[in-house]
């Protein structure tokens, strides 16, 4: 579903991504694991071209993202994104926020005048149901808790009826309990609906707990790829260079390293 080949991104002369290849099939929950500044965000943002890649070929469901701008909107329509700070529109209701996920599929003029097709409203409500927030549909988005807001973010992405979802550190600002609810919701929906998920995380714990497969990134390069069970000490050392030296001093970016 998500195919990336030879993706590179330079900021000026500083390389952020170097020749990244990856492939995520339908229904897989693939975690990109790596320290802050490894290029995880850049990788995700290049895939839907919120950031312009410097080189490489990116395809979603076989369609080239790196082609013409014109086609980009059509590809984005079926490519959901979940942000670290959820990026909901404050002051809008939860339902309307989820409906924004369907805007690209609606008649423009009617929706600008706040007339939405019943079918789209039904889809939005269903997606809210998937994250257990159907009862909050008419609350203002900025009145919800952080965890609830992120689940609305998931519902918005699901409302796009996407083939793939990009999740950029979706639980970075949540407490451990809420983070597990959010990641659980995302993984369940992805499995049931056959969506390919590429999810950035920096916590090893969550990666081993939720991922079908882990891709380790360090300094803009893929340094590990495999099932959670194969993520051993040496793999971690490649992803988090210098981690072993700090072990016993409880390294902040790797809580409870899985052996």
């Amino acid at each position: 579903m998500i195919e990336v080949r030879g993706l590179s991104k330079n900021y000026g002369s500083t390389p952020a991504l170097r020749e990244v290849d990856l492939h995520v099939p339908r229904g897989e929950f693939c975690v990109v694991l790596g320290p802050s500044g490894a290029g995880k965000s850049t990788l995700l943002r290049c895939i839907n071209r919120l950031t312009e890649p410097s080189a490489g070929d990116i395809r979603i469901g076989g369609k080239r993202v790196t082609g013409e701008r014109r086609q980009l909107r059509e590809i984005r329509r079926h490519l959901g994104m979940i942000f670290q700070d959820h990026n909901l529109v404050p002051r809008l209701s939860v339902l309307k926020n989820v409906l924004t996920g369907r805007l690209a599929s609606m008649p423009v003029l009617a929706s600008l005048l706040q007339w939405f097709p019943e079918t789209d409203i039904d889809i939005a409500l269903q997606c809210l149901g998937r994250v257990d927030l159907a009862d909050k549909a008419y609350s203002r988005a900025d009145r919800l808790s952080g965890g609830e807001q992120q689940r609305v973010g998931i519902a918005r992405a699901l409302a796009q009826q996407p083939g793939a979802i990009l999740a950029d550190e979706p639980v970075a600002s949540l407490d451990p309990k809420t983070a597990r609810v959010v990641l659980g919701d995302l993984r369940r929906a992805a499995r049931e609906l056959g969506i390919a998920v590429l999810c950035n995380l920096h916590q090893v714990e969550y990666a081993t707990e939720f991922a079908d497969r882990i891709i380790g990134v360090s300094s803009g390069r893929v340094v590990f790829e495999g099932a959670p069970g194969t993520l051993d000490e040496s793999a971690l050392e490649r992803i988090y260079p210098g981690l072993a030296r700090h072990n016993g001093e409880s390294h902040p970016s790797a809580p409870g390293v899985a052996a």
Binding site: N48, L50, H78, V89, P90, R91, T100, V108, R156
Partner: protein, 267 residues
Amino acid sequence: MSSGYRFVLGRPRGIGTIAGCVLIAGIVAALLTWSAQALGLSLGELLKGLPWIGDLLSRMLPPNWSFARRLWQPVLETVQIAVWGTLFGVLLALPLAWLGARNLSPNRVVFHLTRQVFNLARGINEIIFALVFVAAVGLGPFAGILALSVHGAGMLGKFFAEQMEEADRGPIEALRATGANAAHTLVFGVLPQVLPGWIASTLYRLEVNLRTSTILGMVGAGGIGFELVSSLKLFQYQDTAVCVLVILALVMAADYFSSKLRARILD
């Protein structure tokens, strides 16, 4: 451990820097003194003139309350000028604001051009605009409304544009990522964020317009200002007093209600 006080500047400075500061202070003082002389600032003149102020004030008393009956119509007109002036100002400002917002403007040239239009409209006083429009459409409130509209569009356009520039980029980016088009992004991503600020700015502009529309009449552009000036010219100072008091009440009421409303909206 020592006690006492120490004078602490930002960071330790050499004697050269201090000398520089003293020099600048000296230059500023010299400039102020020079301009005060040129402008005829003089406490003595003011003190000498005080009895004349007292004389004028005494001639205003007691206010001629019966004159108030004749002011209903002009007061109503003043408020109407302010309301229509604000409405036209908003309508003019809305499309311009979008062109003048750095993050939404179609290109740099349009952005800078629009900002200059705002500066021009704001830079020229309403009274000057009123004189121009009186010449164009004749004496009366319509000229006043046009004057307030143009000046207000400059101010509101700038405020609206700056509020759009300050809108959180996150939600806008999220909308773009769903494949939504520019119009959708504006209506669902930007508008909900800026609308409270826009309403607050508009209310503030209404306050300003009400204050200004009380003097537009001085140049024949409608409203209570005309009564004020005529009573002064006819030496009917007791009538003038009533005009001033009515204007005061009007402006205070507008400020009160507008600030109450703004506080509620911005919550």
